[in-house]
């Protein structure tokens, strides 16, 4: 049980007065970000990242990850009270959450959602505690071909598990890789795709892309709907909390199932959003009250929230252990680690023990802090949503502009942010997935390096990706993922009429 002793050392690192204050600040900021339209986990963390550069890395990552937990919690508030998902992963929460609020049971729905989120996160953190060191130890044996195979698996999983057109997933991903290639090629020292512009030599920073795609893009979408917030009010007092908690054990199986779905979807880069939908769908099929889903079932709030939070949390496992983030927000956190000079990946567990275990310990503490904050301060955050959009929108655009500028201190980045905003808007309307694009932008250089090194070993032969059982099985799984849409369509055609087609990704 070396993990346990490491974890206790981690608690010692995380439990300083300064860090606990940062934890609460992070949670409050995070919930705020989760509640406000146009600000979400990924771009919220991206904007605040430069402000943490002066802090010690462990404190900074604790605050940033707490912003992430806060954003995960916050999404549920708008879904339940306003029928507006504050975050994409809380869309499924609106299905039963809003009807509950309309019946005057908002307090109950919120308590259930927060508690379910907490349980989901807790299970995921437990899994990280025991699984991440093993994965990291295993990955120490990885060479460039293995790493490239894992990158392939990561990216092709988007194609295999995505809901939309596989070509759009591929196109979005390739656009990300293309943008990542812009600038100085560190291996040969040549300039790529800069076309003589000195400003472009820096390349495209993914933080700017994230702020534009998710921030400005979201504001444009909200604006188009001519949104006016009309919500239900909510009060949570001790009595409601206790009464709801008494009902929860009944839904233990639902929670467990959703946790498993969430953990799986988080480690593979399915992400929190599909996890929430899948958890909702599975709960609906398995529940005795399945046909009543959508009319205000507590179980219909619990399932997606547990799934989303479990996925959102376990997305940090591959980020820490392999250096491959499972979600855009995890990608931003990874960007932060690189800025602090920490190289995420298997060596992190050997070289930066204090940092890793401090972070993992802070995940436990952060989620407890989160649960306390959201249960006590819902009315406050709901009041923020009553501030008219015509004040919130320009302030958020100003925040996004400042956030983009601070990344490199360059005005070009602010213009790029606007451009990415338009791209994000068009992509969202046409159902191009943004997550693979962001991950490709972040991982582009590293994926290319591992590919080049593999090619150097094998002198240009792709057979190196099948040169031993380990790399071979990862690469084969990746190829299966890439062709999964084709495979599942064929399988569906074969057994059409007999069984209802199952959600893709389940079997992967």
């Amino acid at each position: 049980m070396t993990e346990l002793s490491s974890l206790f050392q981690g608690f010692a690192v995380a439990l300083t007065g300064y860090n606990i204050v940062l934890m609460f600040v992070g949670i409050v900021l995070g919930v705020l970000i989760g509640v406000l339209p146009g600000l979400g986990g990924a771009n919220g963390v991206a904007i605040l990242l430069p402000l943490t550069f002066t802090m010690p890395p462990t404190s900074a990552i604790i605050m940033l990850s707490c912003i992430y937990w806060g954003a995960l919690f916050g999404g549920a508030i708008t879904s339940i009270l306003f029928n507006i998902p504050g975050e994409p992963w809380s869309v499924a929460t609106t299905f039963d959450g809003y009807p509950l609020a309309q019946q005057g049971r908002a307090g109950e729905a919120l308590t259930a959602a927060f508690t379910a989120s907490f349980v989901g996160a807790f299970v995921a953190v437990l899994m990280i505690t025991f699984l991440a060191p093993l994965v990291a130890k295993f990955a120490l044996k990885f060479g460039p071909p293995e790493f490239f195979a894992v990158y392939m698996l990561t990216f092709f999983s988007f194609v295999g598990m995505g809901k939309g057109s596989p070509f759009k997933t591929l196109a979005a991903m390739m656009l990300g890789f293309a943008l990542a290639a812009v600038g100085l090629d560190t291996v040969t020292g040549q300039l790529r795709l800069t076309f003589g512009s000195t400003e472009l030599m820096r390349g495209f920073d993914f933080l700017v892309a994230v702020i534009g795609l998710f921030g400005i893009g979201e504001i444009l979408l909200t604006m188009e709907e001519g949104l006016a917030f009309k919500g239900q009010s909510a009060r949570i007092d001790g009595k409601v909390v206790l009464e709801t908690w008494k009902k929860l054990p009944r839904y233990g199986m639902t929670m467990l199932r959703s946790c498993l779905i969430g953990c799986w979807m988080g480690i593979t880069p399915g992400g929190a959003t599909p996890a929430s939908f899948m958890a909702y769908g599975v709960a609906k099929r398995a529940s005795r009250d399945g046909e009543k889903f959508g009319t205000g079932q507590l179980e219909g709030v619990i399932a997606p929230e547990t799934g989303a939070h479990a996925a959102g949390t376990s997305a940090l496992l591959p980020m820490l252990a392999l250096g491959i983030p499972g979600s855009p927000t995890a990608a931003v956190l990874l960007g932060g680690l690189l800025v602090w000079g920490l190289q995420p990946g298997p060596l992190l567990f050997v070289e930066q023990k204090d940092f890793v275990w401090g972070l993992i310990a802070s995940m436990y503490l952060g989620n407890i802090a989160g649960l306390i904050v959201v249960l006590t301060s819902v009315p406050l955050f709901a009041a923020i949503l009553r501030i008219p959009f015509s004040i919130i929108a320009p302030v958020i655009i100003v925040i996004c502009a400042i956030g983009s500028y601070t990344v490199h201190g360059a005005m070009l980045d602010v213009w790029l942010m606007l451009l990415f905003g338009v791209v994000g808007y068009v992509f969202k309307k046409l159902n191009y997935p943004l997550a693979p694009m962001v991950l490709a932008l972040v991982l582009g250089d590293k994926a290319e390096d591992s590919f080049r090194q593999s090619m150097l070993f094998s002198e240009g032969s792709l057979a190196i990706f099948w040169s031993n059982w380990l790399v071979g099985s990862i690469a084969t799984l990746a190829i299966v993922m890439l062709f999964w849409p084709l495979l599942s369509a064929t399988m569906r055609r074969i057994r059409s009429g007999r069984v209802e087609p199952f959600e893709p990704g389940q079997a992967g």
């Binding site: 656009l175 293309a178 004040i391 929108a393 100003v398």
Partner: protein, 171 residues
């Protein structure tokens, strides 16, 4: 995504989703072509010391072009005018009412510095789109501007672009 309720809504006029699909795919194809062109310029083959600079990007560009072509073909198969409307006039006006001032705002940052430009932008947005009275708009925008100034210049010591006003005040 959001599907508008059928029935009572008057027919929306504007470019169809299919048309936008084709335009977007065309832009992506062009990006892919640029990547391929630049990879060829740098050399996308095998150099004396291993893969050349364009080796990896070449396949990226190629895949981008192929996916874009597949997307465009699929959109074209249903006809360009058929299907849902991508955006109607009213929505476009809403979008532009955010986008155009935001563009002017970023332009103004060059001239006035970020704090003054931000305050102006928020005030104009509130009066113009939110129909607030000028006093309240000025109060909110000044408050936000001063808050950000203190936060970045004083507390976090992250310098942001400053303009003539800040210079006049001696920063």
């Amino acid at each position: 995504m959001s599907d508008p309720e059928e029935g009572s809504v008057p027919p929306r006029r504007g470019p169809s989703v299919a048309l936008m699909e084709v335009i977007t795919a065309a832009v992506l194809f062009a990006v892919g072509a640029v990547v391929i062109y630049d990879s060829q310029r740098l050399g996308s083959g095998w150099g004396s010391d291993g893969p050349q600079s364009g080796y990896f990007p070449f396949y990226i560009g190629l895949t981008l072009c192929l996916s874009a072509a597949a997307i465009a073909l699929r959109a074209l198969s249903g006809g360009l005018r058929a299907g849902e409307t991508f955006i109607d006039g009213g929505q476009l006006r809403q979008i532009l009412s955010v986008l155009v001032p935001a563009t002017i705002y970023v332009g103004l940052i060059h001239l006035l510095g970020i704090y003054v430009a931000s305050a102006l932008y928020i005030a104009v947005f509130m009066v113009w789109l939110g129909r607030y009275d000028i006093a309240r708009a000025v109060a909110v925008s000044l408050g936000v501007g001063v808050f950000f100034f203190l936060m970045f210049e004083k507390w976090f010591a992250v310098p942001l672009p400053k303009g003539p006003l800040e210079r006049m005040l001696g920063f």
